[in-house]
């Protein structure tokens, strides 16, 4: 049996992944034991979930078609159908494009590392982990709360709907319908007794799992964005030590100079004053010169630059190599983050587009339904519930998309605000090209049609309010 070792993003997101697998998504990798029997079992579980979801969705749809006579019912049923369209879409989308998701999850499997920046890397990694866990808890609590609220509201108020009186065309009477979470058509009579119980349980399962499907995928997407943002924070933080590392000797003393206090006769470390080094303890303890730069030291000892060991920039050869390796780390790490963000966009962009399309229609209808609220009753509660849930879903990914945009556009500020003017020529050109590159912020786009940011959320919210106002006026 192959030893199952997880690394990178998969290790960080293991709770997410387990939950996603538990809820029946088609995520069949990342198991310790992937032998034939267990694999088939898991695949079977996913397919059964899919079948149940589709069956219930079909029943909803049939009910929509049957009840299309009454405008109110039509609106209400359309909203329900659209609401569960999100969930079905995400489920099917994941099943179809799971390769892209696996690729994104595997992208951070081999990050580069540099001895100088390990501590900072670990710190931000831990921060990202903490945030991702917190997000997951919030999502779980919210989903459970919504499911429970939905179930409990079913038992409040009358379970009736109005239809035309068969005797008199102009009057409407109330006709009792089964007390279920979601109005649907079933080929059996679910009014009372055993069938009613079973149908109720099935619907509770359906609602809970459908909500879980949609929300868990969204939270996976947002966790990726959290990770990318924290990596960008890490890059911004190490810019300053990097610049100081490359500072010329006569203008500024680099804090890491004591690292180069090697027992080598040609080293020109005539620079240290202790108070500088005390400000930057993190570099001291982590790095062990002899171990890491043994080879370089030997090389440096053989170099003659003329006036004793100092290169053209005022740096020793050792320092130059150090700077170059640090720059290489920075750039490669930044490129890695860019690749991650591109992969996230490829994997989830279309799903976001579909989500926004469905949401737009659903929110328009909800605005219409909201104009018919007459008081604090079950109807008001359900409409407000739907509205809040839909808006919360959009807000969820908009806020993280926005954070990514902000973080990536502030990298340039960080590059500028470190003491670049003290750096070597090489460091200055490095800052030049980095500033160029980071002027354009990295963003996630919904299949190129729109960017995910708080602007999007604001426009959605504004549109809903506008429709509501207009419809209220028209009444």
């Amino acid at each position: 049996m192959m030893k199952f070792k997880v690394s990178g993003l998969v290790a960080d997101l293991m709770p997410n992944i387990r939950l996603i697998q538990g809820s029946g998504h088609f995520m069949l990798n990342y198991h310790a034991d992937n032998s034939g029997a267990l694999h088939t079992l898991r695949l079977g579980y996913c397919c059964v979930t899919l079948v149940f979801m589709l069956l219930q969705y079909g029943c909803n749809f049939v009910n929509l078609v049957l009840e299309r006579g009454d405008v109110n019912d039509l609106a209400a049923n359309t909203i329900t159908v659209l609401f569960f369209t999100h969930c079905i879409t995400k489920f099917v989308y994941f099943a179809v494009r799971s390769k892209l998701f696996y690729r994104t999850l595997g992208i951070w499997n081999q990050p580069n590392s540099h001895p100088l920046f390990v501590e900072s890397n670990n710190r931000y990694h831990a921060l990202a982990l903490k945030k991702m866990r917190r997000l997951l808890y919030i999502i779980i609590v919210w989903t459970s709360f919504s499911a429970i609220a939905w179930t409990s509201i079913t038992f409040v108020g009358e379970s009736v709907h109005t239809t035309k009186d068969p005797e008199n065309e102009n009057l409407t009477i109330s006709e009792p319908i089964p007390r279920l979470l979601v109005r649907a058509w079933y080929p059996w009579n679910a009014m009372s007794g055993m069938p009613h119980m079973l149908t109720l349980i099935f619907q509770v399962y359906y609602v809970f799992f459908a909500l879980a499907h949609a929300n868990l995928l969204d939270s996976l997407f947002c966790s990726w964005l959290i990770f990318a943002c924290e990596q960008l924070q890490h890059l911004k933080e190490i810019m300053k030590p990097l610049m100081e590392l490359s500072a010329t000797l006569d203008t500024y003393v680099p804090k890491s100079a004591d690292l180069f206090r090697a027992p080598s006769a040609t080293s020109q470390d005539n620079l240290i004053e202790n108070d500088y080094n005390s400000k930057n303890e993190d570099l001291k303890g982590v790095y062990s010169t002899r171990q890491e730069l043994g080879g370089h030291f030997r090389g440096a000892a053989l170099q003659n630059f003329g006036a004793g060991g100092v290169g053209p920039n005022g740096l020793t050869k050792k320092q130059e190599l150090m700077v170059r390796s640090a720059i290489k780390y920075w750039v490669e790490r930044h490129k890695h983050v860019v690749r991650l963000v591109t992969a996230i966009g490829d994997a989830y962009g279309v799903a976001l587009l579909l989500h926004m399309l469905t949401s737009t229609i659903m929110l328009t209808l909800l605005a219409y339904q909201a104009t018919k609220i007459t008081g604090v009753d079950k109807y008001a509660a359900t409409v407000i519930g739907y509205l809040l849930f839909a808006l919360a879903q959009v807000f969820h990914f908009c806020i993280f998309g926005n954070r990514l945009i902000e973080e990536s556009s502030s990298v340039m500020e960080a590059a500028y605000s470190c003491h670049w003017y003290d750096g070597s020529e090489e460091a200055k050109t490095f800052v030049q090209i980095v500033c160029q590159q980071c002027q354009k912020a990295m963003s996630i786009s919904g299949a190129k049609f729109f960017t995910i940011s708080l602007d999007l959320f604001a426009s959605v919210l504004g549109a809903v309010v506008t429709y509501f106002m207009v419809l209220v006026q028209l009444k």
Binding site: V331, V338, T429, F430, I433, Q437, Q439
Partner: protein, 329 residues
């Protein structure tokens, strides 16, 4: 046709029918005129394309170009098939719809009695329409394929830039490769500006006409019964028009997005290993690539997906106005 329109200006539905065909035909005539005026530019484009900078790339890179051109050709073929279908639908109603026998495909006023010379007039109209549709298609497809060639060349440039290895070889070879990339970029920009010079005015008129045509066709689709031949014709025509506009916007958008990511692909190479002199060249090149290569229609409307949404939105507003007018009658 003009006279017919003037006679029937009070009846909105009949007017819209004549107007949509009229607009298309007028647009086509103007596009043809512009094509003729700028035909020298087409020769210039061909000269630009035969410059040596565009050749000599590996098979893998050429595959990028081929993919783009192939997709352009698929789009073109689809469009052509659709327009042929539209023309066929145009010709069929007189034969299949017993109510409308002996009526002409395009409403028009002729200085003689139509029923006497029915078949010649009919043939004349059908031939005219078929010719128009086919040539119109060809002009559009030509511009799409040229744009997709430019886009493919940009992809090749991006691949080359990503793969320059600044570590190996001496300074001169690396510098040469970078300079080649810069020259390639310049040539592509040149090519796109020539394409724009040639087709720009025609595309602008096309957009203008498309707004009108889409709204009228949509309006007609609303008032016609669904299962008639007329509806099928109007629907195919609607799809054709949408396709035309959408394709222009799509290819323009494609070039714009590809050219704006040239800087990114240069960044993805190992530039930090390069010499200071090379970095200065990289920097100037990156500054230039910040400005994306855009195609404009008539000089001020850029071809992109945003323009497409604007066109659709304006068509919808005119459509809503028309509907209002129709309901008021």
């Amino acid at each position: 046709m003009t006279i017919q329109m003037i006679i029937e200006r009070n009846d909105v539905s009949k007017l819209s029918e004549s107007l949509q065909y009229f607009t298309t035909l007028v647009t086509f005539v103007w596009k043809l005129i512009y094509f003729d005026i700028y035909k020298k530019t087409l020769l210039e484009i061909e000269d630009v394309l035969s410059a040596s900078i565009f050749y000599g790339y590996s098979n893998q890179q050429l595959k990028l170009l081929k993919d783009k051109v192939a997709s352009g050709q698929v789009a073109g073929t689809t469009f052509r098939v659709l327009s042929v279908a539209a023309v066929a639908f145009w010709g069929l109603p007189p034969f299949l719809d017993s109510q409308k026998s002996k009526s002409l495909p395009i409403p028009g006023w002729f200085p003689y009695n139509v029923t006497q010379y029915y078949y010649p007039t009919f043939a004349f109209q059908i031939l005219g329409i078929a010719n128009t549709a086919y040539t119109d298609c060809s002009i559009d497809i030509l511009s799409w394929v040229l744009i997709s060639i430019a886009s493919g060349q940009l992809e090749i440039l991006k691949e080359t830039l990503k793969n320059i290895n600044y570590e190996e070889g001496d300074l001169k070879t690396v510098e040469e490769k970078l300079k080649k990339g810069v020259r390639h970029h310049l040539e592509i920009v040149n090519l796109v500006s020539k394409i724009e010079k040639m087709f720009s005015k025609g595309i602008f008129l096309q957009f203008f006409a498309s707004v009108i045509v889409i709204c009228f066709t949509g309006f007609l689709m609303m008032i016609l019964p669904v299962v008639s031949m007329q509806f099928a014709l109007t629907f195919t025509y609607f799809v054709c028009m949408m396709c035309q506009v959408a394709m222009y916007c799509w290819y323009g958008h494609d070039v714009m997005t590809t050219s704006s990511t040239i800087g990114d692909s240069l960044y993805m190479s190992n530039w930090y290993e390069s010499d200071l002199r090379i970095r200065k060249t990289i920097f100037i090149f990156l500054e230039k690539t910040k400005k994306p290569v855009t195609l404009t229609a008539g000089g001020f409307v850029t071809l992109s997906l945003t323009t497409l949404t604007t066109i659709l939105r304006s068509s919808y507003s005119y459509f809503a106005v028309l509907q209002r007018m129709y309901n008021d009658e």
